[in-house]
C-alpha cells in the first residue's frame, strides 16, 4: 500500500476529506452497534456460565448467582461465583479454571459445596483435545466422575477402577487429557480454597442467641 507524494495535489485534508468523513460515520455506526448489541453479547457470555450453575451445585438458583473476585493463595485475583438458592442461602461455589491440556488450553467450571469440602460437579467449557479420544472429557460420563469427590487430598487419575475416594478413572487412550483436567482442578481448588472458606464464614448469619427464646 505505497503512497506517492500527496504534496503535489493540494493539502492533506483536502485529499483526505472523504476518508475523514467515512471514518466519522463508520465510528458513529459502530458506536450504535455496540450500544444496541453490547448488552446482549455480555448477557450471552454470562449465561454461558450461569446456565451451568444449577447442574454444578445442587439446589442453586442461577438468577441469584453473585459474581466476585477473590485473592487466591498466589496473590492473583480470581473470579468465583457464589451459587445461592432461591432463598438466598449459600449452596455452593462455582470456580472457573483453565490450563494446558494435551493439545491446547482446557477451560473448566468446578462446582464446590458451601464449605469447599467436596466437589459437586465439573463442566468442560472449552477443549481442543484429540477428536474421538481426548474430547470425551467433554462428555457427561467423564465429568460425572468428579461429582462428590473430596477437595483434599488432591485428585489422582488412575488406569482401571478407582479404589480411593480421590481417584478418577482415566479415559481409554486419553490419559494425558484426563490427567490435565484433574491437574487443572487441583491447582484451582488449592489456590482458592482458603479464600473461599474465609468468605463463606463471613457470609454465615451470626448464631442466634438461645438465651431469650424461652422467655414468655
Amino acid at each position: 500500500m505505497s503512497e506517492p507524494s500527496l504534496k503535489s495535489e493540494g493539502g492533506y485534508v483536502r485529499q483526505a476529506w472523504l476518508v475523514i468523513l467515512l471514518a466519522v460515520s463508520y465510528g458513529a455506526a459502530l458506536a450504535g452497534v455496540e450500544t444496541t448489541l453490547g448488552p446482549k453479547i455480555a448477557e450471552n457470555k454470562r449465561n454461558e456460565t450461569y446456565d451451568k450453575i444449577p447442574n454444578l451445585v445442587p439446589g442453586a438458583d442461577k438468577s441469584r448467582t453473585v459474581e466476585m473476585l477473590l485473592e487466591d493463595a498466589d496473590g492473583n485475583r480470581r473470579r468465583v461465583y457464589q451459587a445461592l438458592g432461591s432463598d438466598g442461602s449459600l449452596r455452593g461455589w462455582v470456580l472457573p479454571a483453565g490450563g494446558q491440556g494435551f493439545a491446547d488450553r482446557i477451560e473448566l467450571l468446578i462446582g464446590l459445596d458451601a464449605p469447599a469440602a467436596r466437589i459437586t460437579g465439573l463442566y468442560v467449557l472449552e477443549q481442543k483435545e484429540t477428536p474421538g479420544l481426548g474430547d470425551y472429557i467433554a462428555g457427561p460420563d467423564f465429568q460425572s466422575n468428579f461429582r462428590d469427590k473430596p477437595t483434599a487430598p488432591p485428585l489422582e487419575v488412575v488406569k482401571g477402577d478407582p479404589t480411593a475416594s480421590n481417584e478418577i478413572p482415566a479415559l481409554t487412550g486419553a490419559t494425558i487429557s484426563s490427567e490435565a483436567v484433574a491437574a487443572i482442578a487441583n491447582a484451582a481448588i488449592a489456590a482458592v480454597k482458603e479464600a473461599i472458606r474465609k468468605h463463606a464464614v463471613s457470609l454465615q448469619p451470626p448464631p442466634r442467641s438461645t438465651k431469650n427464646r424461652h422467655n414468655p
Binding site: L30, E34, N76, R78, R79, Q100, F102, D104, I176
Partner: protein, 231 residues
C-alpha cells in the same frame, strides 16, 4: 522462572504445535504462492516474522492502553470530561479497524527499513512486501493478543505477546521453507495434470500438517522437563 517456562511453552506452541499455516490455516495464500523456491520462501518467512513482531508490539500497546475493557487511557480521558472515574470504558468495538491500520503501518515501516538498509533484498521482494498487509497471519496474531487481553484477571503481558508473534512467524517460515523444498523436487516429478500447481501443493500441505500433528503435547513435556531441571 515460571514466566520463562511459560514463554517457552507459548513459543513452541505457536511455532510447531499450533503452526499458523498448518493448524490455523492463516497465511495460506503466500504459503501457496511464494513457496516455489527455497530462497524466496525463506525471505518471505523472514519478512512476515519481522512484520508480525512489529505489528504485535504496536497492537499490544494500543490494545492494552486504549482498546480493552478497563483500559487506562480512555478511562483517564473520560474522567477528565465527565468527572466520574468509576466507569469502565470499553473501546474494543474499534479493534479490527485499529489492527488493520496498525498492520498497514507496520508493513510501511518494514518496507522503508528494508529499502534503506537492504536494497537488494528489497528488489528481490518486489510486490510481495506490500502484499503482506493482506496476510491473514498477521491479523491473526493481533486477534490472539486481543483475545488474551479481555479478562482483567488473566492478561497477557508484552513478553507473552511478542513470544507468540516471533514463534508464529518462525513457524510460518519453517512451514513455507519446507514446502518450497518439497515443491522444488515436485517440479521435476510427473504430477497428474489436474493437480498441477495448487492441487498438489495442498495435498503436500496436508501431509505436512499430519507430520506436524506429531508435535502435539511437546510443549507440555518440554515445560515439565524445564520446570524440573530449573528447580
Amino acid at each position: 522462572m515460571e514466566t520463562f517456562v511459560l514463554l517457552i511453552q507459548i513459543f513452541i506452541a505457536a511455532a510447531l504445535i499450533n503452526n499458523f499455516v498448518l493448524h490455523y490455516f492463516v497465511g495460506v495464500c503466500p504459503f501457496l504462492g511464494v513457496s516455489r523456491r527455497v530462497d524466496t520462501a525463506f525471505g518471505m518467512g523472514c519478512a512476515v516474522t519481522f512484520v508480525m513482531t512489529v505489528a504485535s508490539l504496536l497492537s499490544w500497546t494500543f490494545t492494552y492502553f486504549i482498546l480493552r475493557p478497563g483500559a487506562p487511557l480512555p478511562a483517564w480521558v473520560w474522567s477528565r470530561i465527565s468527572g466520574r472515574s468509576d466507569v469502565v470504558v470499553d473501546l474494543s468495538v474499534l479493534s479490527y479497524i485499529m489492527y488493520i491500520f496498525v498492520i498497514a503501518a507496520s508493513v510501511q515501516f518494514v518496507e522503508m527499513y528494508v529499502r534503506k538498509f537492504f536494497p537488494p533484498l528489497y528488489k528481490a521482494f518486489g510486490v510481495f512486501l506490500p502484499l503482506i498487509t493482506t496476510n491473514c497471519a498477521i491479523l491473526f496474531a493481533c486477534l490472539l493478543i486481543m483475545k488474551n487481553l479481555q479478562d482483567p484477571t488473566a492478561l497477557w503481558g508484552l513478553g507473552e505477546s511478542l513470544t507468540m508473534a516471533v514463534g508464529g512467524g518462525l513457524g510460518f517460515t519453517l512451514a513455507i521453507t519446507l514446502m518450497a523444498g518439497i515443491r522444488e523436487e515436485l517440479a521435476m516429478c510427473d504430477v497428474p495434470k489436474p493437480l498441477e500447481g495448487a492441487g498438489i501443493a495442498l495435498v503436500v500441505a496436508g501431509t505436512l500438517a499430519m507430520a506436524f500433528m506429531g508435535f502435539t503435547g511437546v510443549d507440555k513435556s518440554v515445560a515439565e522437563a524445564l520446570a524440573k531441571a530449573l528447580h
